[in-house]
Symmetry: D2
Subunit: 348 residues, 4 copies
């Protein structure tokens, strides 16, 4: 931590700041400059509220130097976290693809899509049973019935299941059905929920809040690790900017940055991150090229409806193309799709 | 709702869109233009997911025209909502001032501040017993003990108490102690919490999320009203922008906009909205001048500590100055501080 | 400047950083901490490119402490700059109101509006003769003919004239007609233009770029002062955020912040800053309440057209109401409208 | 264009809006809905200022449907623009790499880097002779001497030269030395400069402004094409967001979006777009994977200085690695580096 004093700060004010720092159990190191005094502070500064120091007379600003998290940092664990779920690994050499509908709408819909994404090469099935919706009048999900359908799809296809949990109280129910528990962007700072999930034995997929800094994102993950759950998968899903041609701006640069400062795996969600189906494929490729450990995408199959052949939607056919592209870009950055090596060996 | 077709959309594609619209129970009104076909749609379009229409071949974009909320809109209730709590009114002619510490730290601290803000002219005491904190290692509040202290302060001073509730499950506890239940910015889209608070008989102070649009803000309020609680106070508390000289950018223009489209009262939080004590007074004045129904501010008294006389902090003395300024600006826009008329009559 | 080393930086790396700092003519002050070494640097650090230091092995980050401008800072000139133009003062006790159309469209239009705003109480007439427009197909202004019309309006009304200059080469022409030379938001970092205006003897109204930080804003002003022109009026005109209910987000908090760190006057432009006529009055009041030295607003009079009585537009009638409101809020913060004292004396 | 009326708009107000629309030479098509009247408007709506319509009594909002540009749109020219410069093509199958220092500092520095990037495989040399700098006290470039050095480097290496022009008046000078004229982000809306460059016979590299929408970006390009210069290369170089871990947020999604709506080539600048050397390689890969036609990167060689071996900087060695990675990712998306086919044939 560094305290910068005003150019006209008095001796008295400087002394007072130093005294206060010492009372907080820290060590001030006043360093005169040409224009102004700077006071580096050493000690356990993580717990200090910098605003309180900024209130002291003569203080210009307080700069935090250390990181506000520990367990998620590479300093704490240099090697990558690799999560192994029945042979599917997340965070290692393999790329993981999670795919499925936004919401579980019916047994038929989900099973159909589950089979399609399984054939396409996905290893995890996504689908919401509890949907946080901006409007109270929108469909809020099938609830436990949706979870049962997801479990049936897992049984039938062998896919792992990831689904959202929206409240501390309903975690126990979701845990019974899902392989990975998802925290949506809106709940990234629902700390009661995070603490509860930190006590779960299931891995957690933590989506970045739409205006969360990387620090806040990693601090949210720190809540999970600090409660004992270190199987956390981060997910970049777009941030809110002035751009209006996409729903959100998928912040690809988060991926190499998180990889650098944390050992946790990170995937990207180009479907929600852009809100435009035509951008799912290019942005999925970009995420993989930047070092993501996988992607989570929405796939639709509505053969009985007019919507089904929308040329821009990610139909099973387009999903297979996407998997092919991901595979190619992945190999260009020395990663391979889950199941790829195996199938190559199989064919070999 | 308006559907805009691509310039080269075929007859077939236009027909298909119209058919789909009719299947959804709505009426399409195709209107040829010089360059492209536009299809205004009438009917109950609130429930339609525009993304699904955008998937249809030939569609360029879908523009929503109606509002995605009802009960909070002026169309539904033209006159202002005025909330009356033991004679203090919020949303009427009076300006309400809520003041107190960020968190309840101890009985002594809170009572001291409570008396100070009471003398300064506040009508509501603020103070957090449950604190949502970015870091799991930060102080998370005194919990129920904090609520007891708040209740004691109310008893002693006659101030109303507003305090935060952070999870659906703990609402019942907070309801026993508080007069107004606060939803923090991070929980603005914690819909499980909102539904629970919608069933409460206590008024709710709903803070705007740090990147919430006005639509999302009002939809969050709609959750409360749609469950039966129409005593909702909105609060602008700053949005996240590229600015770094303040913690957030207090979006003053929200105030006249919300006043125009909703009947609900709205106040401003210049303390959190700027994160700079030196800006609390000018931004509080600005909010009142723009039409806010009041402000919520942080006040500190730490007489035993070096921090106490920080020239920029909102000490009781500075709070009294702030109240004086708010009173003057309020009168310039034909509003008066709660208790002012009374005291004028008293003095008269 | 403070250099923060990585937790695992070697002795060698620290020595190298210190050597490099010395070669740049500065003094390093290495300060060991519990976790990592910090190196405060003293000397003329303004000219250092921090990125170059960040490249050195072992460096975690470099934090700038000093301000990247001098002449515009309060440290350089503690007292407020007051610009006096034929008796109208900007930056002192008086509030200035600049009003007029967006663009000069015709002689009749401008003279009509000029008389209207004069009667309403404005002291400066605004109107663009050169219009920077996003589209090459939009009206780009009347050019020199527009300037002539502005000069005629000044002659007739006694109002001062402010108008935009969009290129270094055309400054000389604009100087012949205008009293105040305006730099639009898009040109805030057109440094060739700024340098030319720094050599002018006319005051400059410098608008903030739509995504300029306060540092960049003040550095742009520094260009003007460093070339010799210290009669600079800053103008907050809205920044680009995710908000879409206004065209820009008028950043009211800039006003007290600029007042604190600079001696230059600052006004607000609620017309462009919101893009919504219905918000001009509340945001003008907010700016004045926050400490602005005045406002610049658009006023329309089109008596021959259907547009003329648009209830939301700032017609001469609404402008008079606005002036009345500004006067009241101004007095609440101990400011008065230009000409007010005089007229009070006159009536007295 | 679509005009949406207020729910309570009167017959009279609707008639008036329609009359006004007709006076503007357009056709209104009033369409009653369940709740409110919508008025689609057909005709040449590009030139209409929607704000003027929004002023009419009873109007809720005006929605623009058409695109505000023509020549840059795919509707105008379906096939990709391919710019051929002495055999190097930009916008076709080949990927172009532009590389070099930020600024030309000396003859020795530039020649050294020019040879290094030539050997690494770049086809265009970048380097600024005129530098727009936030601070008036920063190095502003060598001016014409810098241009001479660039021309010498071209002579020696055969590389094409791209360099920035910062003012309409100095375009003629830059044209004499450079192969491609660059418009920096700060000048994206310097329309006087754009018009002058539109009359040049040299191709223009147009960087996106740091808060420009895609519409504004393409409108700026439209200025160039409308003056007759259709050899325009767009460049995504990061936008300003709340993120602070990078200087800007490189908006990768712009690439597929621009490719979809325009025929112009687009490249990415991961150096300025992130401001972090460690992110140049992953973000360059991401841009290529998303469909960019190339990248422009900064390369440093300072063998005599301590800065030279900064492990994170893009040294010639790291540049070669980057070229290798770009080549691999390029092939994964069916693109190849300029010169690659040739060299493969050569080696074959």
């Amino acid at each position: 931590m560094l305290i910068v004093m005003n150019a006209n700060a008095t001796e008295n004010q400087i002394e007072r700041v130093c005294r206060q720092i010492k009372e907080l159990g820290l060590s001030p190191h006043p360093t005169p400059g040409l224009e102004r005094m700077a006071i580096p502070v050493t000690g356990k500064t993580e717990s200090i509220d910098t605003v309180q120091i900024e209130l002291l007379p003569g203080v210009m600003k307080v700069v935090r130097v250390g990181k506000p998290y520990k367990l998620v940092a590479r300093e704490f664990q240099p090697e990558d976290t690799v999560i192994n779920l029945n042979g599917t690994t997340i965070g290692g050499e393999q790329l993981v693809v999670m795919a499925g509908p936004c919401a579980v709408e019916s047994r038929q819909q989900l099973l159909e899509i589950a089979h399609a994404v399984k054939e396409g090469g996905a290893s995890v099935l996504r689908g919401g049973a509890f949907k946080p919706r901006s409007s109270p009048y929108s469909f809020q999900g099938l609830g436990e019935r949706g979870l049962e359908i997801l479990a049936e799809a897992r049984q039938e296809t062998g896919l792992l299941v990831v689904t959202e949990t929206i409240d501390a109280e309903n975690v126990s129910m979701v845990e019974q059905y899902a392989d990975i528990l998802q925290v949506g962007a809106r709940n990234m700072q629902n700390f009661v929920l995070l603490k509860r999930l930190g006590q779960s034995r299931k891995p957690v997929l933590l989506k970045r809040g739409i205006s969360a800094t990387i620090e806040e994102f990693l601090q949210a993950a720190e809540y999970l690790l600090s409660e004992g759950n270190n199987r956390v998968i981060l997910c970049e899903r777009g941030v809110r900017t002035f751009n209006s041609y996409t729903r959100f701006t998928l912040d690809i640069s988060t991926i190499p940055e998180v990889k650098r400062i944390s050992h946790l795996p990170i995937i990207a969600d180009p479907s929600h991150g852009t809100g435009r189906y035509r951008m799912v494929a290019p942005m999925a490729r970009a995420a993989i090229a930047a070092g993501a450990d996988g992607v989570i995408v929405e796939v639709h199959t509505h053969p009985g409806e007019a919507l089904s052949d929308g040329s821009q939607s990610l139909t099973p056919e387009n999903f297979r193309k996407l998997m092919f592209q991901i595979g190619k870009v992945g190999r260009a950055v020395e990663r391979e799709l889950a199941g790829e090596k195996e199938s190559q060996e199989y064919h070999g």
